[in-house]
């Protein structure tokens, strides 16, 4: 089955799915995106993804290229045409193609691209053994709450993690506080059992998996606090973990080469991971 992509009104073979060189997504990173998991043919947490998409385009004042109902139909059609049972949908909206000029063009039609592909869940060993993170300065712009495609700093950070043999890089702001990973949210469990993650301010993306895990935490009646934490606090924590659509929830067992607690996935992280996987419909 050859892959099919939706590009600005057309379903095209993936290999020739293209956008104009003057698409503002290409020349200005003037666009936003979403990645939504598909489990057993169903979109996971579709609603909060759509809510966030609408917020992101709203902040950049890009009109949504089609109504929400139509968008949902396109996503399902792309899933169907690509035979995706388990995988992801990638959706990108840019301000559209126009002669290059920084300010918004007078008349321009936003570009919508939707792709879907089968993916495997994260390597089971990550779930079993946990993963390592490094810490790096957060050099990104001040509106990381917008899920924009201006991701070059995230790219450099993720690459630095890979070269250090780590799964992720936790970014640290000027005040010494962890903001988030380059494509994941960051969490700790303190010695007195409280789950801590940064509040969704302008420095982080309000992760959809983050929201789902917060819901689980609330439903379970666990102690939690939305506040920033330092690397030192994370290293002194009982547990640490990260969340994202594609990583699900993974225990962080070392930071900058130093173990978190005994260097093994914590009990609460494992419990939350199981609960989150159940929420998505994944068989644990």
């Amino acid at each position: 089955m050859s892959r099919i992509a939706y590009v600005a009104g057309q379903y095209l073979p993936h290999r020739r799915a293209a956008v104009h060189i003057e698409d503002r997504g290409y020349q200005f990173a003037d666009g936003v995106y979403e990645v939504i998991a598909v489990v057993a043919g169903k979109l996971v947490d579709e609603e909060p993804h759509i809510v966030r998409l609408k917020r992101s385009v709203g902040e950049l004042r890009i009109p949504l290229p089609m109504g929400e109902a139509a968008l949902k139909i396109v996503m399902r059609e792309v899933i169907r045409r690509n035979g995706v049972d388990n995988g992801i949908v990638y959706l990108q909206v840019t301000r559209g193609a126009a002669p290059r000029e920084h300010a918004f063009p007078k008349s321009v039609k936003p570009t919508l691209v939707v792709t879907a592909k089968r993916t495997k869940p994260p390597d089971p060993k990550y779930g079993r053994d946990g993963i390592a993170v490094i810490t790096i300065p957060d050099i990104r712009w001040e509106r990381c709450d917008i899920k924009s495609v201006a991701l070059v700093a995230n790219v450099l950070g993720k690459q630095q993690a890979r070269e250090a043999g780590a799964y992720e890089a936790w970014q640290v702001d000027r005040d010494g506080m962890v903001t988030e990973g380059t494509s994941t949210n960051a969490w700790i469990v303190t010695m007195d059992g409280a789950v801590v993650t940064r509040a969704a301010d302008n420095a982080i993306l309000s992760g959809v998996t983050r929201l789902a895990v917060l819901d689980i935490i609330r439903a379970e009646g666990l102690q939690f606090s939305e506040r920033p934490f330092t690397v030192t606090e994370a290293l002194a924590a009982r547990e640490a973990f990260l969340t994202s659509t594609t990583a699900d929830l993974l225990s962080v067992v070392s930071i900058d080469g130093k173990p978190v607690a005994n260097g093994k996935p914590g009990l609460l992280s494992e419990k939350l991971r199981s609960a989150y996987l159940a929420h998505t419909g994944m068989v644990v």
Copy 2:
């Protein structure tokens, strides 16, 4: 004459010049660019543009998709095919197209796009009467020395300027210092006649026009200092101006609606403007 663009090895009609939806320039802003002026068929300051391009791709660890000599030939061919006597060449290099993943793909070929078009010089009234700027917080990332396509903050800033009836927005860092405009460098002339512009640190782009104007200043034996300045200092200055490849050198006669000096272009700015236009080969 229909426009022609160079895209990854091919000369294509502009209207169907496209890049793959998984080009990392589109999905991650993982690329850089240059804009070079063409005056009377000649590339203005080609060498410093190439030097800066090499530095930008070097910082992102993107290999240059062809040798310097070949690149110069492509630029000339694009100029020729588009019949550009006076205008600009736009050149973009991205890491290339690969299945979406933040870290650098294992094997990927960088994408080179080169376009050229005829442009008019800035509206003569800007040269005659000067222009207005507003000031806004600098919310960009911390590596503005890299000429990356991650320009969404610049887009928002320029749009804010337009809506305020201004030509440009000067961005101000957390210390209250002007960094630069959204697509121009910022300058003042102090009451004792010293020309001041921020040193080329990580917060600004080392503008090629900025370098050319610094050369003129040196050649003329004028007093100058490369240091940051505040908005208050700019408002108390004798003159202010901005520089860029497409704006050339324009006097800034008001900041946030308040006049700089008597609200008219200053003598030194006008002198530097003439010298810069002569340097580019433009008839003044």
